[in-house]
């Protein structure tokens, strides 16, 4: 499970159905089933991400798997041990599944070539974050009852976002209409996007993009983008691309507000928008555990 591009709509549908069952398990008093008893899952995090790591950890525990955390700062090259070496070591130690987070796009493919068990991508560089995309799909469908024909606007630092790429794969496969909205420097040339995803819309004006939107998904703006010269100021970004209280008022109650977290409140999203009744940001986090259970179960069974 490295990216959603490998999945057909039916397979995504199956995962969402399994997620539903996992969510029921999590609603019980005893939030644990023995499905993966005796299986060993290694959380291999080469990049800090407390949320995703904990989410996978809870998911593995709810399925009674043994979970071990392996956290390495910086790239494997700096450490002197190669990624391949690390993977071989974990294999020799008896790992059945690897969950990998890495700052380099494509690293999970390298792991998959050298690991005999299942590999789950927990986010690689700018490339993909399939479990996040699946939980987004699940949350949207849970609230709106469908994915097909919904208009979903993704706004923010799309160029550097693995979440955006996986969401585009997942949403378009399920028949949703995707609009990308970002300042030009955080998007790159439109035709490069359209070459892979010909049916998406691209806009540089958030207010136009939001017309008729069923879902708006704000992405995190990293402060270092300013130093790279990609943004003149956070203030300008926030006014033109942020989910401000004024935009929130214009949206209406039916438009879901989403954010993959962690949020920069006051930059890409205002505190009012984050806590609005139509915000499902907390539900995304909750559903994340169920989605990851479904992934672990399907790959580890």
């Amino acid at each position: 499970m490295i990216d959603l591009d490998a999945l057909q709509a039916e397979e995504i549908e199956e995962i969402l159905v399994t997620t539903d069952s996992m969510k029921e398990v999590l609603s019980r008093e005893i939030k644990q089933v023995p499905a993966l008893r005796g299986r060993t899952v290694v959380n291999m995090f080469f990049e800090e991400s407390t949320r995703t790591r904990i989410s996978f950890e809870l998911a593995a525990r709810a399925l009674s798997a043994n979970i071990v955390n392996f956290t390495a700062r910086g790239s494997s090259v700096e450490k002197g041990e190669s990624l391949i070496d690390t993977v071989r070591t974990l294999q020799a130690l008896g790992a059945d599944m690897v969950v990998i987070r890495h700052s380099q796009s494509g690293a999970p493919y390298l792991v998959a070539q050298h690991f005999h068990g299942s590999v789950i991508n927990a986010g690689d560089g700018r490339h993909a974050h399939p479990s996040q995309a699946l939980l987004d799909l699940f949350t949207i469908r849970e609230r709106l009852g469908q994915l097909c024909d919904l208009k979903v606007v993704i706004v923010g630092d799309i160029l550097h976002s693995r979440v955006a790429r996986s969401d585009i794969w997942g949403l378009t496969r399920m028949g949703a209409q995707v609009t990308l909205c970002a300042p030009p420097t955080l998007l790159g040339p439109s035709h490069y996007w359209l070459a892979t995803w010909p049916n998406i819309q691209i806009s540089h004006h958030l207010d136009t993009a939001l017309e008729g939107a069923d879902v708006v998904m704000a992405l995190r703006i990293q402060k270092e983008r300013m130093q790279g010269g990609l943004l003149p100021s956070l203030r300008e970004y926030s006014r033109h691309y942020g989910l401000t209280p004024e935009r929130l008022a214009r949206l209406g109650q039916h438009t879901l507000i989403m954010h993959p977290g962690p949020m920069n409140e006051g930059v890409e999203i205002s505190p009012e928008a984050a806590t609005a009744p139509n915000s499902v940001i907390e539900a995304q986090v909750t559903n994340g555990v169920a989605v990851r259970m479904a992934l672990l179960y399907r790959l580890g069974g």
Partner: protein, 498 residues
């Protein structure tokens, strides 16, 4: 040892000769070329101890000249040594190789030049030509002692894989080189346009989330360097041109008389950025049979030479996604760029095919894509790859051989590699129809980094002769006559030559 190469299809671009015939090599020199017209005539008694090499069905050509290879020594012996690099070269048909100066220490002083010369004479199987650095330590700041480097044997100057970003320094370097009448080989990349880039910026980089280098990063340096060469009247050589706009700039400059030459590597000619997708790429379709088009404005389209055999194609889906063997500098570009490069090669805008041989170690390559060292080990696959394009009908065989022999020799300002009687017998014999499969572990180069692992190529070097001695022979090639007439397909190509 003397040799009579019999019944080969002789292609000697420098003399505009393409014929079936024999080549007699005596005392390290080409003694005589006997062409079809004279076949009936008794050549007279052969000199004492002449071995006959049966080359029926094969092309006999002057040994190839490579303008761009990294031979590792000194300092990067784990990547390549002069001994292994030159063994790889002669296996690939190259009898003369320009050694890039990105060694350690950098070839930026006469002392290092002397050291490499000594090494090459002791260990090398072919001829090694030295390229001196343009700036000290390849840092782009202070010029090297170019006059002394020239005296030590350097045939050109280059900062190998690095661009001199300071236009003032570049202008001074060109002025100095003009006085020495030697070319500056410029690597054209303004990396400020692609922070931490690892591949070509385009649809593929966007999909894979890899930092890209836009084509403009190459174009703006080519444009700048052309302006400076025009200004200084120096000979500017563009290394490893990879973009359509780059080709257009070079073409325009040549048309107005600027002394600019250019080279392209086989991988930039044949592989696009979809190779980074690996198995995520769409399955390749067999290329359509080329339609014969009327001759006319030759520049505006790919060449349509008669096909030599079945269409042959390459399959990027044999690789896993993000395979670090596809990481190269400059990056593999788009299909449109490839189209323009082939047109440029066919119309003479691009003078030479240079291997771009950049061997890398396993440690440097077996890691994350972004952490991998850029480079392709290409001396041994170069001919097979360009012949794939010939078989597809995109280039013609005679012109391809010219871009491997006469073209690069002219860039170096050396007398062209040729089979003219009296010239040094550097000769390659290759079978243009021989199918073979690239197997990484069988490369003699220490660099096993090739994206062509498992690909079927058509065309392989059978024998290479350096200064009249057999430097490489595949199996028992040429020892026994095949009997019967040679491949008529080969004879067919001669229709094009006037």
């Amino acid at each position: 040892m003397n040799y009579l190469i019999r019944n080969g299809s002789i292609i000697d671009p420098a003399r505009r000769v393409a014929t079936v015939g024999d080549v007699l090599v005596v005392d390290g020199k080409v003694e005589r070329v006997i062409d079809m017209a004279e076949m009936g005539v008794d050549p007279g008694p052969l000199p004492e101890g002449t071995e006959i090499i049966h080359a029926g069905g094969c092309v006999v050509a002057p040994g190839f000249t490579d303008l761009y290879a990294e031979l590792g020594e000194p300092g990067h012996e784990q990547r390549e040594t002069i001994a292994t690099g030159m063994r790889a070269a002669v296996q690939g048909g190259f009898t003369m190789v320009c050694a890039m100066p990105n060694t350690n220490p950098v070839l930026d002083s006469a002392a290092v030049a002397h050291q490499v010369t000594a090494l090459a004479q002791r260990e090398g199987q072919g001829h090694v030509a030295l390229i001196g650095a343009v700036t000290q330590g390849r840092e782009g700041k202070i010029l090297t002692e170019m006059i002394e480097l020239a005296e030590a044997g350097c045939v050109a100057f280059s900062d190998a894989g690095r661009t001199i970003l300071d236009a003032g320094v570049m202008r001074n370097a060109l002025a100095y080189a003009a006085a020495l009448d030697l070319p500056i080989m410029s690597h054209c990349e303004d990396a400020r346009l692609g922070l931490n880039w690892v591949m070509h910026e385009g649809a593929v980089s966007m999909r894979l989330g890899l930092p890209g280098l836009p084509a403009a990063a190459e174009e703006i340096i080519i444009a700048r360097d052309i302006a400076l060469a025009e200004d200084t009247r120096a000979h500017l050589h563009i290394c490893q041109v990879s973009t359509a706009a780059g080709v257009a700039l070079i073409r325009a400059a040549k048309e107005r008389g600027v002394r600019v030459t250019a080279e392209v590597s086989p991988h930039h000619l044949a592989l696009s950025d979809t190779w980074v997708l690996g198995s995520l790429a769409p399955q390749p379709n067999p290329p359509p049979t080329p339609q014969p088009t009327p001759r006319g404005k030759g520049k505006s389209r790919r060449n349509s030479a008669p096909e030599l055999g079945l269409p042959s194609w390459l399959d990027p889906t044999l690789l896993p996604p993000y395979d670090s063997s596809t990481r190269i500098r400059p990056p593999l570009r788009s299909e449109q760029d490839i189209e323009a490069l082939i047109i440029g090669l066919n119309d003479g805008t691009i003078d030479a095919i240079a291997s771009g041989h950049t061997p890398r170690t396993r440690v440097e390559k077996e890691c994350e894509y972004g952490a991998a060292a850029p480079g392709i080990s290409s001396l041994e696959t170069a001919l097979g790859l360009v012949l794939t394009l010939v078989h597809r009908g995109e280039m013609d065989l005679v012109n391809t051989v010219a871009r491997l022999t006469e073209g690069p020799a002219q860039v170096m300002g050396r007398s062209p590699a040729t089979l003219r009687p009296g010239s040094r017998a550097d000769i390659v014999i290759f079978d243009p129809d021989r199918m073979w499969t690239v197997e990484r572990s069988q490369l003699v180069s220490l660099g096993k980094n090739t994206p062509l692992q498992g690909q079927q190529l058509k065309g392989q070097v059978m024998l290479t002769m350096v200064s009249g001695q057999v430097a490489f022979r595949r199996g028992e090639f040429g020892m026994y006559g095949r009997g019967g007439p040679q491949s008529s397909k080969i004879a067919g190509i001669f229709g094009d030559v006037t």
